[in-house]
C-alpha cells in the first residue's frame, strides 16, 4: 500500500441519523479519530420553552422516530416530579407505562438485531440482501418487530409518535380485549426471541475488550425501564436529580452532538443494552436469565460485540414481562390519568431508552409554562466511548484494505445502535494514512 494516501471511503449506513468518521493513521498508529455528527441541530430544548406541560410529550417524541416512547416517558416522569404528582401515579398506570416501553424495546431491538446488525456478522450489506439466503431470519425479525408495534398501537394510538401518552398517565386506558387478543402473538414472540438470541450468541465475535465504565438505571425489584437509581461499574449510585453533579456535556468542534463525560475525571462511559445487562443481570426475567447463563459468555462482558446478545436478552425479557402485564390487565374503572394543576416547580428523571440512559430536566415557571428544559440522549453519552473503542480497534484492522477496515469500523459503531438523529444519518469514513 502506498505510504501517503487520503481516502473518502463510504457513508456509514444502517444507523439512524447523519454522521461521519474521520481516521488519521501514521502507519498502523492512530493519530486522530473523530466521530463527526453533522445531523443539523434541531433545537428542541429551545422550542420547549414557553410551551404548556401537556404539549411536552407530543413535542419530545419528535426528537426521534425510533425511540419516541423513551422521550415521552422521561418527559412525563420529570414533569410529574416538577408538579409534585409523581407519588400519585397508580400501580396500573405504572404497569401500562412499562408495557408501552416493552413495546418500544421489542420494536427497536428486533429491527436492530435482524435488519441492521445481523448482516454484519453474516456478511451481507443489508437485511434485504440477507433475505435471499436467510429469509426465515428476516421474516422472523420483521414479525418480532411488528408485534412490538402492535403493542405500541394499542397503548399509544400509533407506533411512531404515540398520541396517547400524557403527563399523569394515558388519555385513555387500552381496551382489555384488544390487549388480550395480542397474547398468542406475544407468546410466539417470546419463543422467537429466544431463537433469535441463540442465533446471535453463536455468532463469531471479534476478540476485543475494553475496560468499560457501564452506567445504567438499577431498581431493586425490576429490570430498569422507567425507574431506578443511576449506578455505574465503579460504584456510582445516585438519584436522577443528582445527574448534573456527576455528568457534564462538552461541545467538540467536529460534532453538533454534545459529548457527555463522567466527572471528576471527565472520562467516557458506556450506556445501552450491554451496560444494563452487566449491571442488572439479576433482574432479568426468568427465561432471559436462564438464556444468559447458557451461552458461555461471562457476564459482565467487556466485549461490546456482545451487545447484540444483550439486546436479544432484553427482547426476551420484554416479551416475558409484556405477557405478564397483559395477562393481569383489568381495565375496568381504572383512572388512566392523574389530574394536576399547573404550578411552578422543577423535576428531573432518567429512563432507559433502547440505546441507553436518557435524562431530562424541566423547570416550570410562574406562568405554568416550561421555563427551561435540558435533554441528554443516549447517543451523546456513548459518543466519547465510541471514539475510545475506535482508537483501540483501528490498529487491529489497519493492515486491511480501506473497504474492509471501514466495514469493520462500521460494525463496531453499530454495536451501539447509535441514534444520530437523537443526538442532534449516514456516516462517511475518511481514512488518512501517512
Amino acid at each position: 500500500m502506498p505510504a501517503n494516501r487520503t481516502f473518502i471511503v463510504t457513508n456509514l449506513s444502517r444507523v439512524e441519523g447523519e454522521g461521519a468518521l474521520y481516521v488519521k493513521l501514521n502507519g498502523e498508529q492512530v493519530e486522530h479519530i473523530e466521530l463527526n455528527i453533522f445531523e443539523p441541530p434541531r433545537f428542541f430544548e429551545s422550542f420547549l420553552r414557553g410551551r404548556e406541560v401537556r404539549e411536552v410529550p407530543d413535542i419530545t417524541a419528535r426528537i426521534c422516530g425510533i425511540c419516541p416512547v423513551a422521550y415521552q416517558m422521561s418527559s412525563c416522569h420529570a414533569l410529574e416530579k416538577a408538579l409534585g404528582i409523581n407519588d400519585q401515579i397508580t400501580p396500573e398506570i405504572r404497569r401500562l407505562r412499562r408495557l408501552l416501553y416493552c413495546g418500544e424495546w421489542i420494536e427497536s431491538h428486533a429491527l436492530h438485531m435482524h435488519l441492521l446488525h445481523a448482516p454484519d456478522f453474516l456478511g451481507y450489506e443489508s437485511g434485504v440482501s440477507m433475505a435471499a439466503d436467510h429469509r426465515e431470519v428476516v421474516v422472523r425479525g420483521l414479525r418480532l418487530k411488528k408485534i412490538g408495534n402492535d403493542l405500541l398501537e394499542i397503548l399509544g394510538g400509533r407506533a411512531i409518535h404515540p398520541i396517547n401518552v400524557t403527563v399523569g398517565g394515558f388519555y385513555k386506558a387500552p381496551g382489555r380485549k384488544k390487549l388480550k387478543d395480542l397474547l398468542p402473538d406475544l407468546e410466539w414472540g417470546l419463543a422467537a426471541s429466544i431463537e433469535a438470541t441463540r442465533m446471535a450468541a453463536a455468532f463469531d465475535f471479534p476478540d476485543f475488550t475494553m475496560p468499560y465504565e457501564c452506567v445504567a438505571l438499577r431498581h431493586p425489584d425490576e429490570y430498569p425501564l422507567n425507574e431506578g437509581r443511576i449506578v455505574s461499574t465503579s460504584g456510582l449510585d445516585i438519584d436522577a436529580a443528582e445527574y448534573e453533579e456527576h455528568f457534564q456535556e462538552r461541545q467538540v468542534p467536529h460534532s453538533t452532538a454534545l459529548h457527555s463525560v463522567l466527572l471528576p475525571q471527565e472520562t467516557s462511559y458506556l450506556v445501552g443494552p450491554l451496560a444494563r445487562v452487566n449491571l442488572c443481570l439479576a433482574q432479568l426475567s426468568p427465561l432471559a436469565r436462564r438464556e444468559a447463563d447458557a451461552y458461555g459468555i461471562a457476564w459482565p462482558s467487556r466485549n461490546n460485540f456482545h451487545s447484540i446478545v444483550a439486546r436479544g436478552l432484553e427482547m426476551i425479557h420484554a416479551y416475558e414481562e409484556a405477557i405478564e402485564i397483559v395477562k393481569d390487565y383489568q381495565a375496568e374503572l381504572a383512572v388512566s390519568r392523574i389530574p394536576f394543576e399547573l404550578k411552578p416547580g422543577e423535576g428531573s428523571h432518567a429512563t432507559e431508552a433502547p440505546r441507553g440512559l436518557i435524562w431530562h430536566r424541566y423547570r416550570i415557571g410562574d406562568d405554568g409554562l416550561i421555563a427551561d428544559a435540558k435533554i441528554v440522549p443516549p447517543t451523546s453519552q456513548n459518543q466519547g466511548q465510541i471514539e475510545d473503542d475506535l482508537r483501540h480497534y483501528v490498529p487491529q484492522v489497519a493492515s486491511l484494505d480501506d473497504a474492509e477496515a471501514t466495514r469493520r469500523c462500521e460494525h463496531l459503531i453499530r454495536n451501539y445502535d447509535p441514534c444520530i438523529s437523537c443526538s442532534t444519518h449516514f456516516i462517511r469514513v475518511t481514512w488518512e494514512r501517512t
Binding site: I59, K145, E332
Partner: protein, 277 residues
C-alpha cells in the same frame, strides 16, 4: 426481464420517523424489495447505487446551506420526487425557529456557537425544488406510503384524502371532542389520513397532518376563543409540527398579534379525565 424501478430515500433535518415507516411495513417490505430496487436507503442498507432514480422519497426540512445545495442535486437525480412527512412538506417542528432569533437558540444549547452552522429558517423541500407529490403526516401513514409506491408502479396518481379529520371521526363514530367536551381540536382544519386517532383517544387533534384544502382557521379559532380558549393557547396549538404551512402560519400570527393586545397567560382547557370502559 426489464430492470426494476430504482427507489431512493434521502434525509434532511428530521427524526427518521417517516423513513422508519417504510421499514415498519413489516408484512410488505420483502414484497416492496422485490418490486423495486432499493437503490439508496442509508438507514436500511450499505449498498448505494448511483442515480438516476425513478422515485425519490425525501424526509426532512432544509436547515443548512449545504442541504439547500444538496436538494438540487437530488432533484436532478430523481424522476419522481415525493416528500414524506411534515418536515419535508411544511418545515416540521424545527420550523419553530422561524419565529425566533436562531443565534439565541444556538446560545441556549451550545457553549461554542461558532462551531454550529445552521440557517435561520427551516423550510419545506418545495421552497427549493419542484416536488411531484407530498405525503402528509408526522409521521406519514404507512398505508399511504404503500398506496404511493403501488400507484407509482401502475403509473397512477396516489389517492390520498383532502378532506378533514372530522370526516374520519364521523366514520369511526367517534363523539366529537370539541362539541362534547369543549376541547380546542384542530380536526376541522386538518387533512385526514391518520384515521382520526387522537379524538378516538379522547383528546384534541393537534394538526400533525397539516392544513386540509381550504381550511377556515379564522372561523374555528374565533369559535374556540368564545368557548374559553386563550389566543396564546391557540398560537401554541397552530404552531407545532406544521407551523410553517401557510394556513397555520397566518392563523398563528394573527392570534399572536391578538394575544399581544390582551396578554392574559392561559392554558388550553385540559380534557376531562376519562374513566375507561
Amino acid at each position: 426481464m426489464t430492470a426494476k424501478p430504482k427507489l431512493a430515500v434521502f434525509k434532511f433535518a428530521s427524526c427518521d420517523g417517516c423513513q422508519l415507516s417504510l421499514l415498519s411495513c413489516e408484512d410488505e417490505l420483502l414484497t416492496i424489495a422485490g418490486a423495486v430496487e432499493i437503490a439508496y436507503f442509508l438507514e436500511a442498507r450499505t449498498q448505494q447505487l448511483e442515480g438516476p432514480y425513478d422515485i425519490g422519497l425525501v424526509e426532512g426540512s432544509i436547515t443548512t446551506a449545504e442541504d439547500a445545495e444538496r436538494i438540487h442535486e437530488i432533484r436532478r437525480q430523481c424522476k419522481f420526487l415525493v416528500t414524506i412527512g411534515a418536515c419535508a412538506t411544511a418545515g416540521g417542528i424545527q420550523a419553530l425557529k422561524n419565529w425566533a432569533n436562531v443565534d439565541d437558540f444556538i446560545a441556549q444549547v451550545y457553549a461554542r456557537p461558532e462551531y454550529i452552522s445552521t440557517l435561520a429558517t427551516s423550510t419545506p423541500i418545495s421552497d427549493h425544488v419542484a416536488v411531484d407529490f407530498e405525503l402528509r403526516g408526522c409521521p406519514i401513514n404507512k398505508q399511504q406510503l404503500l398506496e404511493l409506491i403501488a400507484a407509482f408502479l401502475r403509473g397512477a396518481r396516489p389517492r390520498t384524502p383532502s378532506y378533514a379529520v372530522c370526516v374520519e371521526c364521523k366514520r369511526n363514530l367517534t363523539v366529537c371532542v370539541a362539541v362534547a367536551q369543549g376541547i380546542a381540536c384542530l380536526g376541522p382544519v386538518t387533512q385526514a389520513g391518520c384515521g382520526a386517532i387522537c379524538p378516538a383517544f379522547h383528546r384534541d387533534c393537534f394538526g400533525c397532518y397539516g392544513p386540509k384544502e381550504q381550511p377556515n382557521l379564522v372561523s374555528i379559532t374565533t369559535h374556540y376563543i368564545t368557548q374559553g380558549s386563550t389566543p396564546e393557547s391557540l398560537v401554541r396549538l397552530t404552531r407545532s409540527f406544521n407551523s410553517n404551512a401557510p394556513d397555520f402560519r397566518e392563523a398563528s400570527d394573527a392570534l399572536a398579534a391578538a394575544s399581544d393586545d390582551h396578554s392574559q397567560p392561559g392554558a388550553a382547557p385540559c380534557p376531562p379525565i376519562e374513566h375507561s370502559s
